[in-house]
């Protein structure tokens, strides 16, 4: 599980079928104080997180395969929730 901040989004037209109609956000990993803590990465965002909101992300590929209903999906990262407070 990763704490991250949503810093943007990506638009794709050609991709693995499991990405169809999925919203993709670009996130920066952060620590519990909100400071940057790693390189940016992309994640599926089924809940519609806004720009610069803090989110909670799973890296469990099998969970994401379930959530997109595709056993062949190679996608691992998915936004699981919006973070109100972390300390």
């Amino acid at each position: 599980m990763i704490l991250a901040r949503v810093d943007g989004h990506a638009v794709v037209s050609i991709g693995h079928p499991s990405l169809k109609a999925q919203k993709i956000v670009l996130c920066t990993p952060i620590d519990e104080h909100g400071a940057d803590a790693g390189s940016p990465f992309a994640a599926l965002d089924p809940i519609g997180a806004g720009q610069h909101t803090r989110v909670f992300i799973t890296t469990d590929g099998s969970w994401t395969q379930n959530s997109v209903h595709d056993d062949t999906s190679p996608i691992r990262n998915q936004v699981m929730g919006l973070v109100d407070d972390a300390e």
Partner: protein, 101 residues
């Protein structure tokens, strides 16, 4: 999933039968400086990696790629892949709250 820029191709004279239909790309991971346009060349200090591609990405394209065990998930048979391209990026926006140094 991470953002990468395709900077080259790898050509194989022989390949495992499970890998037919794909090509190999040399991919440069894109960090915060590259995504925000502070390094327009897209060539970061990171190690380039080789990713399997069956989407048709070419040199200069930005892609999303996946590393690790999930890279072999699209294949019916167990396949020794470390990284796979999963999407061609049309456009993206990446704007951290304060300027990245």
């Amino acid at each position: 999933m991470k953002v990468g820029k395709v900077i080259g191709n790898v050509t194989l004279s022989h390949a495992d039968s499970g890998l037919r239909g794909g090509r190999y790309l040399v991919v440069m991971p894109q960090g915060a400086k590259e995504l925000t346009g502070q390094n327009p060349s897209g060539l970061s200090d990171a190690w380039a990696l080789v990713a399997y591609d069956n989407l048709g990405a070419g040199v200069g394209d930005d892609i999303l790629y996946v590393e690790g065990a999930e890279a072999m998930q699209p294949f019916e048979h167990r396949t020794p892949l470390d990284a796979i391209s999963v999407a061609l990026l049309d456009t993206y926006r990446y704007e951290p709250p304060q300027s990245v140094t």
